[in-house]
C-alpha cells in the first residue's frame, strides 16, 4: 500500500533524475547535431578553425586530435565551453520559477484569496482536509467562473495554495467538494507540483535555446563561412525542435497521467470516501472549461480536469489528464474493496 511518503520518495527520485538528465540531454543533442552538421559541411579546415578558440579545453584533456575524431571533439569542446552558461541560465530560470512560479500563475488566473470570514464553511473544509492529510493548511483562492474546476500550486506544503472556481463551490455537495480538495492537497503533499514546475521550466530552457538560435541564424554575416555556420545552427535548431515537440510531451504526459491517478488515490485515502470524489468527477466532466486558463498550459496539468476546450486539448496531440471515465471507474473500484 503506497502512503503519501512513498509518493514523495518516488517524486524526489524523479526530480533528481530530471535535474541531472535535462542538461545532459541538451548537451547530447547539441553534440550529435553538430557532428552531423560537420559531416555535411565536409570541410576539415573550417572545423579546425572552429575548434581553435576552444583548443585549450582539448589540450587540458590530453586528447590527440586526428582527422577521424576532430568533428566529435570540436563538438564536445564547444559544448563544454557553453556548459557554464547552460547550467547558469537553467538554474536562474528554475530559481525564478521556483520562487515566483505560483504567484505568477495565480496572478495570471486572476485568483483572489478567500479568508475565513468570506466563506467559513469552505475555509474550514480545506483546513480539515489538510489535518486529515497531515499537512499545513494551504492558502485558499477563488476564480470567478461558473464551470467546475480546481488546481493547486506551490513548491512545498508550507508555500502551497488551492484554487477553486466559484462554480465548483456552488455546484458540488460538501462531501464531493471535500474529495476534490483532498485530490488537490494530495498533489501538494505528493510534491507533484514541484516536479511539474521543474519539468515545465526545464523543458522551456530547451525552447529558449531554440529561439536564441533562430535569432542568431538570422543575424549571420554574409561571409564565406556564414553558410557553414548556418548549417550548424540549423542542425541544432532542428534537433531541439524535434525534442521539444516529440519527446518532451511524452515525458510530461507519462509523468502527469500517473500523478493524476496517484492524486485520486491519495485523495481517497485522505477522506476514506472515494465515492464522493467519483461523483464529483462525474459532475466536473460535464463542465470543466475555464477560459482564463487557456493561455497557461502548465496550469492545465495541475487542474483536476482539463480546462481547455476539446479542440486545443486534442491539437496538442496528447491530453494531460487521463480520461475521466477511467478515473471514476478506478475510484468506484476502491470503494467496493
Amino acid at each position: 500500500m503506497l502512503t503519501i511518503y512513498d509518493h514523495i520518495a518516488s517524486n524526489n527520485r524523479k526530480t533528481f533524475l530530471l535535474l541531472l538528465l535535462f542538461p545532459l540531454v541538451l548537451c547530447f543533442i547539441v553534440i550529435i547535431a553538430m557532428v552531423i552538421a560537420f559531416y555535411i559541411i565536409a570541410d576539415t579546415q573550417f572545423v579546425y578553425d572552429y575548434l581553435y578558440p576552444y583548443a585549450h579545453i582539448i589540450q587540458n584533456l590530453n586528447i590527440e586530435i586526428t582527422e577521424k575524431n576532430i568533428y566529435f571533439w570540436t563538438a564536445i569542446a564547444y559544448v563544454l565551453n557553453m556548459l557554464p552558461w547552460v547550467f547558469g541560465g537553467g538554474l536562474l530560470w528554475m530559481f525564478i520559477s521556483w520562487n515566483f512560479g505560483d504567484k505568477m500563475i495565480l496572478w495570471g488566473a486572476e485568483a483572489r484569496p478567500l479568508e475565513l470570514k468570506d466563506n467559513p464553511q469552505i475555509y474550514r473544509l480545506v483546513e480539515n482536509v489538510a489535518i486529515a492529510a497531515g499537512l499545513p493548511r494551504p492558502n485558499l483562492y477563488i476564480i470567478n467562473d461558473n464551470s467546475l474546476n480546481a488546481f493547486a500550486t506551490g513548491r512545498n506544503p508550507k508555500h502551497a495554495s488551492v484554487t477553486l472556481t466559484t462554480g465548483i463551490i456552488n455546484k458540488l455537495e460538501p462531501l464531493e467538494l471535500e474529495g476534490v480538495i483532498a485530490h488537490e492537497i494530495a498533489h501538494i503533499g505528493n510534491r507533484d507540483i514541484r516536479l511539474n514546475m521543474l519539468i515545465i521550466t526545464g523543458l522551456s530552457v530547451f525552447g529558449f535555446f531554440a529561439d536564441a538560435l533562430r535569432i542568431r541564424m538570422r543575424h549571420l554575416n554574409n561571409n564565406k563561412d556564414s553558410s557553414k555556420l548556418f548549417i550548424i545552427y540549423l542542425a541544432i535548431f532542428i534537433a531541439l525542435v524535434l525534442f521539444n515537440s516529440l519527446i518532451a510531451p511524452l515525458i510530461q504526459l507519462a509523468i502527469s497521467r500517473r500523478r493524476e491517478y496517484a492524486a485520486d488515490a491519495t485523495g481517497a485515502l485522505i477522506t476514506r470516501n472515494p465515492k464522493a470524489l467519483a461523483s464529483a468527477l462525474q459532475k466536473i466532466s460535464e463542465d470543466a472549461r475555464v477560459e482564463i486558463l487557456d493561455k497557461q498550459k502548465n496550469i492545465s496539468t495541475a487542474c483536476i480536469a482539463d480546462p481547455r476546450d476539446i479542440k486545443s486539448a486534442f491539437s496538442s496531440a496528447f491530453s494531460t489528464h487521463p480520461p475521466i471515465e477511467d478515473r471514476i471507474k478506478r475510484l468506484l473500484q476502491m470503494s467496493r474493496e
Binding site: 500500500m1 502512503t3 511518503y5 467559513p120 474550514r124 483546513e127 480539515n128 482536509v129 489535518i131 486529515a132 492529510a133 497531515g134 455537495e173 462531501l175 485515502l269 485522505i270 477522506t271 476514506r272 470516501n273 465515492k275 464522493a276 467519483a278 461523483s279 462525474q282 471514476i328 468506484l332
Partner: protein
C-alpha cells in the same frame, strides 16, 4: 572469498540499519498523528466550559444534562493514551453534547444567543477536525503496523522491540449516514 563475505556482511548491516531507521520514522509519525488527535480533542475540552456557562443562563432546569456533560468531559480528559477506553469516553462525550444541542431546541432564547450559535459552529467544526486528525493518525498506525508485521521488518521489529499500535475508532454517525445515502447513481 573473504572479500565477498565482507561485502555481503556490509550489505546486510546496511539493510538492517535502513530498516531500523524506517521503523523509527514510522513510529515517530504515529506519535505525531497521536499528538494531532490530542490537540483537537483538547480543543473540544476547552470549548465545553464556555458552552456550559452560556446554557446555564437560559436553561436552569436542565441541570442533569449539563452535569452529564461535565462528567463525560472529565472522564475523557483523565484517559491519557489513545485506545479503546479513550474512544469509548470520547463517544460518550459526543453523545452528551448531541443531547444538549437537541435540548436547546426547546429554548428559543438560547438558540438566538449569538455566543451559543458561535459555540455550536465551533464544536461542529471541532468534531470534523477530530475526525480528520483521527483519519491521519489511523493511516500512520496502518503504515507502522504493516512495516512491523511484514517481512523483513518483522525481524527488526522483534529484535528492537517495536510493537504495533492500536487504531483509534470513533463513531462518526453523521459522516457515515452521508456516505451511505445514494446521492448519485451510476
Amino acid at each position: 572469498m573473504s572479500q565477498t563475505i565482507l561485502i555481503v556482511l556490509g550489505l546486510v548491516i546496511i539493510s538492517i540499519i535502513m530498516l531500523y531507521n524506517s521503523l523509527v520514522v514510522a513510529r515517530q509519525r504515529v506519535r505525531e498523528g497521536a499528538s494531532d488527535v490530542e490537540t483537537q480533542l483538547k480543543r473540544r475540552y476547552d470549548l465545553i466550559p464556555n458552552l456550559i456557562e452560556t446554557i446555564k443562563g437560559y436553561a436552569k432546569h436542565e441541570k442533569e444534562t449539563l452535569e452529564k456533560v461535565i462528567e463525560a468531559r472529565s472522564s475523557a480528559m483523565n484517559i491519557q493514551s489513545l485506545g479503546e477506553q479513550k474512544s469509548a469516553a470520547e463517544n460518550m462525550l459526543s453523545d452528551t453534547l448531541k443531547s444538549i444541542f437537541a435540548l436547546s431546541e426547546n429554548y428559543p432564547k438560547l438558540q438566538a444567543n449569538e455566543n451559543f450559535l458561535e459555540l455550536q459552529q465551533e464544536l461542529t467544526d471541532t468534531e470534523n477536525k477530530i475526525q480528520a486528525s483521527r483519519r491521519f493518525y489511523n493511516s500512520t498506525v496502518l503504515a507502522l503496523n504493516t512495516k512491523i508485521e511484514t517481512f523483513p521488518g518483522v525481524f527488526i521489529a522483534k529484535i528492537f522491540g517495536f510493537t504495533p499500535e492500536k487504531f483509534f475508532e470513533l463513531s462518526d454517525s453523521e459522516r457515515q449516514a452521508a456516505q451511505e445515502s445514494p446521492k448519485v447513481s451510476f
